[in-house]
Symmetry: C2
Subunit: 338 residues, 2 copies
C-alpha cells in the first residue's frame, strides 16, 4: 500500500509502505475511509520538533474493520469504527478513571494517512458506529478521532457548563471544536478569540456568542471588560505557546478553570503567575476514547456537524498539499480520502 511519510521539515512524501498485519492478538486492521492532517503535526513539519527518522504520518482515522486478532472480542470485521489517537486497553484503573490517553499500556498512533492501518488494543481503542455511515458523516466521524475529542476535553477540563462564560484561545480546528463543545455543554456565553474572518464565521456557527480579535494583554483586558472585570469562568487554551497559555490563565477569574490542549514545546510556565492566578489548570493529551461514544451519538443524530472544520478535502496522494495549506493557514484543516 501507499502512505505518507515525513522525512524532515516540509518534506512529506507519499510512498510505498508495507501492508499492516496483525502482530498482537488484540490488534485490528482497518481499511481507512478518511484521515487528516493534524495541527500538532505542524510542529515537526515546521522543524520545531525534531524529526530524527522518517515518520509514518496520521493519527486521526476512521474506517472499516478488515481483520481482527484472536483476542479481540467486541470489534468485528465489517464494522465501521472510529478510534482515538491513543490506543488504550480501556480496562486499567487509569482508563476507568477516564484518562485513556494515559492508559498503563497506552500506545501513540501513527501511519493513518494510508490505505490500511493496524490498531493495537482494538477493543479498548475503537468505537463502532450503529451501521455503515452515509458518506456525508465521514468528515465529522473522523474529526471525533482527535480534533473534536481534543476540543471536547479542553471544554470539559475548563468545566464549561450552564451559567458559565467560556473563552477559547486559539481558532484552529481544536479551538473551534472547543466552541462547539462548550455550546453542547450548555455554556451561557462563549467568546472565541480569533482574528481570521473565516474562522470567526465558523466559530459563530458552532455556537460562539462573541468574537474577540485582540491578543495577549489586550485580549485579556477585553475578556475582563466583558465579565465585570472578573475574567471568564472557563478558558480553553488550544494553541500551545507561552503567549497563549499566559493569555488563557490571565483571562480566567480566580477560582476559574483553564483547560489546555495545545501541545507545548519546551515552554516554561512562571509558577508565581500560576500561584497568584488561583485558577484550576487541567489538560494534556485528550482521552478521546472516553467521550467517543457520546460524540458518535451526537454526530449520528446530526446534532453537531464538526466536519465543517475541514475546508480542504484532498485525495490521500496529495497529502503534502494538505500540510502546505495548513502551514500557510490557507486551510483550517485538511481531510484526506484514500
Amino acid at each position: 500500500m501507499k502512505g505518507t511519510m515525513l522525512y524532515g521539515p516540509r518534506d512529506v512524501r507519499f510512498e510505498e509502505r508495507l501492508d499492516p498485519e496483525i502482530i498482537e492478538p488484540t490488534d485490528a486492521i482497518l481499511q481507512i475511509s478518511a484521515a487528516c492532517v493534524c495541527g500538532s503535526d505542524l510542529w515537526s513539519y515546521r522543524g520545531i520538533a525534531e524529526v530524527t527518522q522518517p515518520q509514518a504520518m496520521g493519527h486521526e482515522y476512521c474506517g472499516i474493520v478488515q481483520e481482527v486478532g484472536s483476542e479481540v472480542r467486541h470489534i468485528k470485521p465489517g464494522q465501521f469504527v472510529v478510534g482515538s489517537f491513543w490506543a488504550s486497553d480501556n480496562t486499567c484503573p487509569i482508563c476507568q478513571a477516564g484518562y485513556q490517553s494515559r492508559c498503563v499500556d497506552a500506545r501513540g498512533m501513527g501511519g493513518a494517512q494510508a490505505g490500511w492501518l493496524r490498531v493495537p488494543l482494538a477493543d479498548g481503542t475503537l468505537v463502532a458506529t450503529p451501521e455503515l455511515p452515509p458518506d456525508d458523516l465521514i468528515p465529522s466521524l473522523v474529526s471525533a478521532s482527535d480534533v473534536l475529542g481534543t476540543g471536547w476535553f479542553g471544554a470539559d477540563a475548563a468545566e464549561a457548563g450552564p451559567g458559565k462564560t467560556v473563552a477559547v484561545v486559539g481558532d484552529g480546528a481544536v479551538g473551534l471544536c472547543a466552541v462547539l463543545a462548550a455550546r453542547q455543554m450548555g455554556a451561557e456565553r462563549i467568546i472565541a478569540m480569533s482574528r481570521h474572518e473565516d474562522r470567526q464565521k465558523l466559530a459563530l456557527e458552532f455556537g460562539a456568542t462573541d468574537i474577540v480579535t485582540e491578543r495577549g494583554d489586550e485580549g485579556v483586558a477585553r475578556i475582563k471588560d466583558m465579565t465585570d472585570g472578573l475574567g471568564a469562568h472557563s478558558v480553553v487554551e488550544a494553541v500551545g505557546t507561552q503567549e497563549s497559555m499566559m493569555q488563557a490563565m490571565q483571562s480566567a477569574r480566580p477560582g476559574g478553570h483553564v483547560g489546555f490542549v495545545g501541545v507545548f514545546h519546551g515552554m516554561q510556565l512562571p509558577a508565581m503567575d500560576l500561584f497568584w492566578s488561583t485558577v484550576h489548570l487541567h489538560g494534556g493529551p485528550a482521552p478521546v476514547r472516553q467521550c467517543l461514544p457520546h460524540l458518535i451519538d451526537l454526530i449520528w443524530s446530526r446534532k453537531i456537524n464538526p466536519g465543517k472544520v475541514f475546508d480542504l478535502t484532498l485525495p490521500l496522494e496529495q497529502a503534502a498539499e494538505g500540510y502546505r495549506a495548513m502551514d500557510e493557514r490557507r486551510a483550517i484543516k485538511a481531510l484526506l480520502r484514500p
Copy 2:
C-alpha cells in the same frame, strides 16, 4: 504599643509602633490573643524575597474585638474572633465562589505580631467563636488563621476524600495540617513525606498512614511502588520549590489532583511535563475565610487539635527567637503570646 518589624535578612526587632486606629468604617481593632511566625515569612527573613522597607510582621491572629467602625454590622466588641490572612468583603462574586483570598477588594494582612491589630473589612474577614475560648484552644484557633486553613485548602484542592490515596510533600506546619485535613476529609491512605522524626510523629498523630523519607525521584518511585505503579490520587505540595513541585506532579497519577500551597519564588514550571502529567493543578493563596467557620467548629468541638504544630511558645517580645528557631528548623512553628 510594641510589635515586631523585619528590617532585613535575619533582622527582626520588637519595637514601639503606632497604636492602630479605625481608618475605614468597615475596620475593627482587635486585642491580639495569639499570633505566630509563618513559614512563608522565612523567604524574606532569609533574604530570598527582598525586603525593600521595614515590614510590620505577622498575618496570623486571633483576639478580642475592641472597637468596630460605623459600617461593621456583624462583628461586635467583646467577641473573640479568628481572621484570615487576607481581608475580604465576602460578598463579591469571587468571594461567593469561595475564593476570598482573591476578593475584588482583597487586602493582605500584616502587623499581627503586636498587642493590637487593625483588620479591614471586618464583617467579611473575621469569624467569631461561640463564646470566649478556654486558653488551651488558643493555639488551634490561631492556626486556623493561616496554617490550618492553608493545609485544608491544599487537601481540598487535591480533592482528598474517601477511597483516595493522598501524598503530602512537605512536613512543615502546612504540610502537617494538610495531613490532618485529608484525614477529616475521609482519605483512605495518607502518605506523609518527611525525614524528620518529630514531624513524622506528629504526621502519624494527625492521621498519616504511611511515612516516606525519600525525596525527589526516589520519593516519586516510592509513591508509585505503594500505588500499583499508578501514583497517588491526590498530592499536596506544601514547600514551594521547583524540586517539591516536580515531586508532587510526578507522584500523582494521570487524572489525579495536585493541590499546591507552597509559595513559589521565581520558579519556572516545565510546561511539557505538566502537559504529559495530565494532572489537575490547583492552588495559590488559600481562601481561608471560606472554611474558617467549619474549622472553628471542628476545633471548638475538639475533633481536631491543629495547635500541636506549635512546638515553641514565646512571649511576643521574643519573636526574633521564634524566627531563628524556625529558620534553623529547631521548631516546626512558633506561637507568640502578647
